[in-house]
Amino acid sequence: MAAPTTVRAPRAALVPGRTPLRIGPVSTVVRLRAAAVVVVGLVVVVLALAVNLGLGEYPISVPDVLAVLLGGGNGGQRLVVLDLRLPRSLTGALVGAALAVSGAITQSIARNPLASPDIIGLTAGATVGAVLVIVFAGAGGAVGGATAAVGIPVAALLGGLLTAALIYGLAWRRGLQGFRLVLVGVGVNAMLVALIQWMLVVTGVYQAARAYVWLNGSLNGRGWEHVWPVAVALAVLVPAALVLAHVLGALQYGDDTARGLGIRVDRSRSVLLLVAVCLASVAAAAAGPIAFVALVAPQIAQRLTGIARPPITGSLVVGAVLTVVADILARTALGGTELPVGIVTAVIGAPYLLFLLARHRRRSRG
């Protein structure tokens, strides 16, 4: 008989609602609803991408688009789908995913659904950096080539990081309180928006017009050079966020509880904020500050999964769905005229923001 003590008979979950999944040293809780949201969400993303890729002067049916994506289709279809249209749609999906994960992190850190990067000024900080490059680096001519491909993401990242440091510094008072972070962030956001307006006023008409389209969050004319930075950022930062999600869960409790559980609260929060800022900045650099996705997607994902905080993977998928669907609407709503995708997300997101504020007020009264 070989050591019977090491064998544990399979048994029902001891704790209701927390069915274990254990493989070797790896263990987690099975959350079927959350897993279903991710799987269904991914299917919807692919279908929405297929619809979006079929749209245009040379319409292609969804089955044909899917065939092309799986390696089939004729030469013309392949050219249109893969070379001309895919970068734009893919940028949309990736940017939406990045924004949503960023929002899930900041909302969890602040324990406040309003604390998303577009509300607390992180996106605006990244935008200041990017607009600075668009408006001034061209020095009279159009910004293009290396300046645009490298300069805009780097400037956006710097802008985002500086803003994050500023907000965190101003909001920190022997600990971080969510509402204080939101208030400080809203103030900083207003200042940054004013700064952007000023830059648009002092620059030439041509640069201002370019910046303006970008400012509304546009996916128009996105090429592979826009896809790669976001894709790389997601490939690095999403796994980081998933590793940190365990700590993020504990940060949801008060600071004292989290410290009592052995978490280095300020350090963990700074690292998580860094991940969130990088995601938001890279997304803004690729497509402009697409409004409200970072605010809305994590909250939708939280409600769909039934988990007590914005989930990382769920938010990622919902953010991608939201942005691609918004892009489809932006391209079709006004017939021939394409809207910047940011206008559509704003039309969806603004009422939701009002709802959140109303709900917040009711709760703080009650």
Binding site: R8, A13, L14, V15, P16, G17, R18, P20, L21, R22, P25, V26, S27, T28, V29, R111, R174, L242, V243, L244, A245, H246, V247, G249, A250, Q252, Y253, G254, D256, T257, R259, G260, L261, G262, I263, R264, G306, A308, R309
Partner: protein, 285 residues
Amino acid sequence: MTTWTTPAAGEHIGAADRDPGAVRLRADDVRLAYGEHVVIDGLDLDVVNGTVTAVIGPNGCGKSTLLRAMGRLLKPTGGQVLLDGKRIDRTPTKEVAKILGMLPQSPLAPEGLTVADLVARGRHPHQAWYRQWSGDDEDAVATALEWTGIADLAERPVDELSGGQRQRAWISMALAQGTDLLLLDEPTTYLDLAHQVEVLELVRRLHREAGRTVVMVLHDLNLAARYSDRLVAMRAGRIVASGDPSDVVTEALLAEVFGLDARVIPDPVSGTPMVVPIGVHSSSG
């Protein structure tokens, strides 16, 4: 590594293998301040293995501040806190969290969180990002839920519970953490008397049957005297008296610490001192 097995048997390891007289937690000449405001200066306190210590004192006397410092939530600006003889601020915080559990005053839980998920969070110090629900975690949480009598509430959201149930859920979380030291900051706040007694009975069982060493801040003197082995009375950042409840709760001390004019008689149920207030000294205004 669950340090206690079944609720009924009350078997435990961890605390039991230590010298019963050992000092587990020591505040050594600590000075505690929030910014410029010094709350406590030059205070010493020893917490002995296998005891229940209750800290009492008027509002603002620094009792919660002291507890936060003993639980390394507040760093002393002078002196040191020693956990098992080692400086607590130089021990990795996750290691501390395996020895010492802390229940803050009015803790916050995320909206919609279930009781099971709350209690499971107590396992954090034993987990890693890839190991979030081991067999040990599951055993410890199931036992903690049963111990605190909330197993049937496991799937309910914490925010729907009554005050007493919620407090038991939080204690259950601290219990699941599997530490043999527990610091409880006013665990009975906002509870009605029946629920206060319920929570303190639970604390007593944790001590007697599961071998936990407990330090708690309490408001109610009679309950503090009844449910502790050792009372520490504080006033204005200093320890005025400490020791056996019957030695500490005296009419003279109540006058000195609380400015309270009172009679002290033996509690007819437990024999511990019982305070019968008469009035407040006019000088304490």
